[in-house]
Every structure is written in C-alpha cells, then in structure tokens.
C-alpha cells in the first residue's frame, strides 16, 4: 500500500480525529424524508446535459486520503488498469457519503465508522495513524480488516468494496478493464456475438449437455 497524500498527524491529533468521527456523524446531511423537500438534492428535473452535485462534500483531506489508500488496496493497479486513486475515487466516495438521499446517508455512518476503525487500529499497532504507519503495520491493519471476525464495523468492508467498484468500473478505464464494450454507435444491423464468443458458447453448452441448434453452423 502506498502512502497517500494527506495531512500527517501525530498520536494526539489522530486521537482527536477519531473522536471527531462521532461529531461528523451527528452533522450528517439532512435526509430527504419526503419527495419534493430538501433544497440540497438535485430535484426531480435536473439538467441532464449539465449535471452538477448540489450538496457539499464533507470528508476532510485525511479521510479522503484514507479512502484512496484503501481503494488502491481493494482494486490495485495492474497491467490492465490504473489505481483507483488516480481516477478520482476519493471524490466519488466523498460525493456518495455526503449525499442527502436515504441510501447514501445509510452508507455514511458505515464508512465513517470504518475509517475511524482503520485509524484506531493503526494507532494501536504502531502508535501513529494509518498514513504514517510503516508498510508492514499498514498491511497488518489491512489484514485484520480483510480477515474473518475482524473488529472492524460490520459491513464496512462490504460497503467500501461496493463504492470502490462502483467508482472504478464507471470510468472508461474501469469499463475497459471489466469488459464493457458498448456505448458506441454502430452502422447497420446489430452484429450479435462474434465467432469467438459463439465458439465459446458452443463449448459451454456442450459441457452442460445442451443443444446448440440456434448458434448456426
């Protein structure tokens, strides 16, 4: 895990930061309780050609850096695609957990609690926050997070993985990685699956003892 840009903090500052997580939760954006209210939502008729995010982002730099570091651990850079931190993953997660809609507001507590847990775990193990911790200690924290029965808040890793995948695979780089090949205007008839896909399908059906009559010769 690479150290992310972010404010370096000592032990006391880290403890204050963790304590502040509760206060941040209390200040969560107002949730839309009823259709038509909530000035900070985008409304029922937003401009689809010029989208904007009308609510304020709420994560501080340190949380955003932590999100980026965790995202790069969840979906690391490889030969096919870059690290999520280079594609604005922290912006997306911040936008999500700051949003004034019920589903997103529900994720906010989970994510903030989880980020605080990561910081606390780093502090417990190394005496400094996650960003400042030595690589081995960071790996230990992540190992604990990924392990069964970790002390991390329930569903933190599941929701963070959802958000990281959501943010990553909606970028052109992520879509190319996962094999989405559409959104291109075609001339003429839709061609259907190419020969290599049909050949694959023929083998798959044969393995299931199913007939491939409709696949042509």
């Amino acid at each position: 895990v690479s150290a992310q840009a972010g404010t370096r903090m000592d032990r006391r500052a880290t403890l204050r930061w963790i304590a502040a997580a509760g206060a941040v939760l209390a200040a969560a954006p107002r949730v839309v309780a009823e259709a038509g209210v909530g000035a900070r939502t985008y409304g029922f008729d937003p401009d689809l050609l010029a989208p904007t995010v009308p609510w304020d982002l709420t994560l501080d730099d340190r949380r955003r850096a932590l999100v980026a570091a965790l995202a790069d651990w969840i979906l690391p850079e490889d030969a096919r695609s870059p690290a999520p931190s280079t594609l604005g993953i922290a912006d997306f997660v911040d936008e999500w957990v700051s949003a004034p809609y019920p589903a997103q507001a529900g994720d906010r507590g989970v994510i903030l609690d989880g980020l605080a847990w990561v910081e606390a775990e780093a502090l417990r193990r190394s005496g400094v926050g996650f960003a400042e911790a030595p690589p081995a200690q960071r790996d230990a924290v992540l190992g604990e997070l990924a392990g069964a029965g970790s002390g991390a808040p329930p569903s933190f890793l599941e929701r963070l993985r959802f958000l990281v995948a959501a943010g990553f695979y909606t970028t052109p780089e992520g879509m190319a990685d996962i094999g989405y090949r559409g959104n291109e205007a075609l001339l003429g008839d839709y061609p259907g699956p190419p020969p290599e896909a049909l050949a694959f399908l023929r083998r798959a059906l044969a393995a299931l003892d199913l007939r491939a009559d409709d696949l042509g010769p």
Binding site: A35, G43, L48, Y101, E158, L186, R211
Partner: protein, 582 residues
C-alpha cells in the same frame, strides 16, 4: 410529415390565451393514449386541444445519449428523485411526484409511477410492444374469472397492424398460441440475440419453454424520416434520433404538422365540467406556472391521462347529478385495479465465465423473451392458476455501467488482485429473469379519493387498496419453480429472488407500472363505465382512451394495446364529430 430532428418542436405552439369554443376535442394527456388520440383526430380534420400536466419536453434536444455515468451525480444511480437513475427520461415524477402525493389504505401497499412531461411515460417505458391475443379478450368465457371484453381480438387487430406500422416494432413472425403474429411486412426484423440469450434459450429448449424474439418499439430499419437504431445507449434515456417510440418524437410532430393541434403544457386537468344537460362542456385545469384555474371547452372530451389519472379526474368531477364521480353510475369507477404480478430471479452462470467480451448493448432491451407456454397444461387441468405469464430476461452488461456495478464486488469476493481477476470473470454472467403475470381483478383492489389528503393544487388525491389474490400467488409460485429449474439446468446459482413463498417473492402492486382496469369497458352500463368505443355510458361526449378501460389486463405489456385502442376510439370520435352526432 415533420421529421424527428426537432423541427416539429420548433414549430410547436404553446398558447397561454386560448380562443374559446374553437375546438372539436380536448385530449387530456400526451402519452401513448393522448398522443395517438390527438394524431388520429387531427388527421381526420378535427381541431384538437391537448392538455399535459407536465412541462414541455423535447427528446431531440434534452437527451444525453452517450454521456457516461461518471458525468452524473452518484454515477447515475437511482435516487428517490430519479427512480430509474439520473439519465432516465422521467421528469418531475417517479414513485413520488413533487406536490402530488397519493396514499394507501392500512394493510395495502401500492406504488404509482408518474411522469409530468410532454409524452408522459412513453419517454421512459420499456418498449416491449406485444399484442394481446384472442384468449385475452374472452377470459371469463374461457375460465369463469374476471370479465370478458366487449370487443374481440378481431376488432382490434387492424389497429394493432396500423399502430405497429406507425411506431415501428421489431419482432419475429413466430406463431405462438395466443400471441398473434402480425401480417407480413408490418414488423421490422429483430436484432440478433446476444450470447447469454442464446445460452438461456438452450436451457429453455431443454425444458420445453419457447424463447423467441421480443417485440419492441425500436426501429431496426428506417421508417419515414426516422433512422434505425444505432445500438447504443439505453432507450429509457429517451432517443434523440427518434429510433424508438416516444410520443414526442413519433406521434406529436405529425399531429402538430396538421396545423389542427394545440398543446398546453403545465396544465393539470382537475375535472370534467358538465353542463345542465349532463354533457361534458370541457375541462377545468390548473396552470401550474401561476396556479390559476381555467376552463377550456370543446364538443368532445377525451381522457387519456393514464389509467389512474383518468380515474382520478372522473372521481374529482363530482356534482349534484354525479355525486360519486362522473360516469360512475355503475359504481365501477376506481374498481378492478390490476397490475402485473411479477417475480425476479437473479442468477449467476459459471458456464458463461470467460466468454470473450463483445458489445452487448444491442437495442438496450431484451432481444429474446419467453411467451406463455402453459395453455395446454392448463387445458389438461395441471396448473393451479388461470391465465399465464411471460419471462423477460436480461444481463447487466447490455447497458452502460452505473454505480450498481459495485454489487459485483460482493459477488466476486475478496480484495486485491484476486478480486480484480474475479470481477472480470463474473461480469456479464449474471442474468435477471423476470416473470410478468396476469392479475384477475378482485374486490379488495381499487382506488378512491382520499377523504382528507389533497395535493399542492388543492385536488383530492387517490387512495389505493390493493392485494394479490390466491390466483396471482399460485402463478408466482409456478414462475419461481420454473425459473429455478431453468437456472439449475443451466448450471447457475440463484443470487437473489424467487423466494419459495410467493407472498414474499411477488412484486408490490403498481411496481410493474402496468396498472389498468379502473374504468372498464363493457356492454352493460350497470357493470361498466364506458362502451366498447370508450364512450362514457352516462356522458355521451366523454371518452376514455387509456388502460383504465381494459376489461382485463393480461400479462402482456399494455402499451401497444393502449395505442391500438386509442386509435380505434379516436377514429370513432372523429366519425361522430364529422356526422354531427356529438
């Protein structure tokens, strides 16, 4: 005829000060029923005024065809304000609409999807355009349940032909029991099936289930000035090139081109105004921009606001002569509310892992579907439910990913390089199989005016009572067993849905957005609201032209039938106007 490129809209007239008394017909609503009614009437020479409760909307200039989810808030995911995602072509609506609540009675759950925009829900709809079959008009005669229609398939068939030819429908000419083929030359060729569709079809074949090209209102060949689909971007965003059916690109431009149609947008119809003789004078509406009320008049009034809004307008048109709502002498207004009971199984198929990726966008809709195949088993008494269902199925990969793609992380499991590898394997191997069934109207499912709640315009809102019957639950249980057997035969695993308890598996009433039946047509004024041409029994110059008049609603998607019925009714109205009998 004006083309789809926007010229029709540039020439559209929006009148704020209307001359009084110059209209032959008022049409309330601009969607499938309203658009078709206006087009047929205007082409026949009638002067038509259309009232639309929503704003002016132009798909040719407002549709972000290729914009990425990344460019939208929350990666375009659904929210309470955009129920089908940021780019979905629903304006000022969804499961809730600003300022326009509805209520449900204790113990009832019902959802009502609305769109307050020119063209209504035709902008967002699923584009599945199938005909009802001969059995669907004679349900009671066949099995003793529900109500027969007062017309037969043969009465509507010519209008199905014309509607399909006008809007453009792709599909195949396969002969399926009670799923009629179109005459030669009417349908356009269907797009090639995708690999996962051929895969599921092979499983269907093994189980004796037909799996055939869907009929969808998307052009695969140019039609008039409209180009064929270019097989990218989701239909439900709207189509800026007019290659699918939306009222604002297909029905309204030629209607406006006659010079005999005026359209008032932001005009929320409140009630039908009736004169001392019990005839409809016109419509009272609220101009939503300044909240002022006005009355427009015409020789005939056609309600085509969508089944439930049409019903609401009639219920609100109460006076001394019609204390229970206009045209409600039968007491059937608001009754017989049905929607399609549905169950969806989401399954993953290991056999598809490793399939070479290719462009699966296609028409953004299901290219294949399973028409109902159980007539013979029903005739032998082998099924514990009447009528039937069909199955629509689709992969997530046929549309641009939005934030919902994040769900694949849990499916793949783990973190790091292993997660990334596994995601590549499983993406495109998940198929959603959704059965859509027929509901038999029951006494516990209806809508009425809420005695207390009013909308922001001061108009009473609808209150829904709704419950599925034993018939629907038995149908859903059968569908679950079928879908699970199909998944098993294909070596897949069910990820979600298909609960063996049908009461847990079945959709919420209204959720499939196929609501119908609340002002049904019939032959007897004592048991129906309108006659076989949609004419209100008690108000001779008032007509209904949407799914409110369905005497029963089969499992088949209703829009094509709404279009065909509206055409037939409007032709009748035009003849009556021409002969001076209105």
């Amino acid at each position: 005829m004006l083309g789809p490129g926007g010229s029709g809209f540039l020439r559209m007239t929006f009148l704020s000060d209307l001359p009084r008394g110059r209209y032959d017909a008022i049409v309330v609503g601009s969607g499938a029923a309203g658009g078709m009614s206006a087009l047929v009437l205007a082409r026949a020479g009638a002067r038509v005024l259309m009232l639309e409760a929503g704003r002016r909307y132009d798909p040719t200039s407002e549709t972000p065809m290729f914009d990425l989810s990344r460019d939208a808030p929350l990666r375009a995911v659904q929210t309470p304000e955009k129920a089908f995602g940021y780019y979905d072509a629903t304006v000022d609506g969804g499961w809730t609409a600003p300022g326009e609540p509805y209520t449900t009675a204790p113990g009832s759950d019902f959802r009502w999807y609305r769109a307050r925009m020119l063209g209504g829900r035709t902008n967002h709809w699923g584009r599945v355009a199938v005909r009802f079959g001969p059995y669907d008009f004679t349900g009671r005669t066949r099995d003793g349940l529900g109500q027969d229609w007062p017309i037969r398939y043969e009465d509507l068939a010519p209008y199905y032909d014309r509607a399909e030819a006008l809007i453009g429908v792709f599909g195949s000419m396969d002969e399926v029991e009670n799923a009629p083929a179109s005459p030669p030359g009417v349908l356009q060729p269907p797009p090639a099936p995708r690999a996962y569709e051929l895969f599921v079809k092979a499983g269907c074949t093994a189980l004796g289930i037909p799996c055939l090209p869907t009929h969808c209102a998307v052009l695969t060949r140019p039609l008039g000035d409209r180009p064929a689909c270019f097989y990218a971007t989701a239909c439900r965003r709207g189509c800026a090139i007019g290659a699918n059916f939306q009222s604002p690109t297909v029905l309204l431009p030629p209607a406006l081109a006659t010079g005999r149609l005026d359209i008032l947008t932001d005009a929320m119809a409140v009630e039908v105004v009736v004169d001392g003789a019990g005839r409809a004078e016109g419509v009272r509406y609220v101009d939503k921009r300044d909240r002022r009320e006005a009355v427009v008049t015409a020789r005939a009034t056609i309600l085509a606001a969508g089944a439930l809004d049409t019903t609401r307008i009639l219920l609100c048109s109460r006076n001394a002569r019609f204390p229970d709502g206009l045209a409600n002498g039968s007491g059937q207004l608001g009754r017989n509310l049905v929607d399609s009971p549905s169950t969806t199984v989401r399954a993953q198929f290991p056999a598809l892992e490793g399939m070479p990726p290719y462009n699966e966008d296609g028409a953004s809709l299901a290219h294949l579907y399973m028409p109902w195949w159980g007539h013979a088993a029903q005739a032998r008494g082998e099924l514990d439910f009447a009528r039937g269902y069909h199955v629509e199925f689709f992969s997530d990969r046929i549309r641009l990913p939005d934030a919902n793609i994040g769900a694949y992380a849990a499916l793949a499991g783990g973190v790091g390089p292993a997660l990334k590898r596994r995601l590549r394997e499983v993406y495109g191997t998940v198929v959603n199989l959704s059965a859509r069934g027929e509901m038999i109207a029951n006494a516990a499912s209806y809508c009425e005016l809420d005695p207390e709640v009013r909308d922001t315009w001061g108009v009473p809102v609808l209150r829904f009572h709704f419950g599925w019957g034993e018939q629907e639950l038995a149908l859903v249980a059968h569908a679950n067993r079928t879908l699970r057997a199909l998944v098993e035969r294909l070596g897949g695993r069910v990820l979600s849905g298909g609960d063996p308890d049908p009461a847990k598996a079945v959709s919420v009433g209204g959720q499939i957005i196929h609501e119908a039946g609340t002002a049904r047509m019939g032959r007897d004024p004592a048991s129906s609201v309108v006659d076989p041409f949609g004419q209100a029994w008690e108000v001779p110059n008032l007509f209904l032209s949407d799914a409110a008049v369905f005497a029963s609603a089969p499992h088949k998607n209703p829009t094509l039938t709404v279009l065909a019925l509206a055409w037939r009714n409007a032709e009748h109205v035009a003849q009556r106007l021409g002969s001076g009998s209105l």
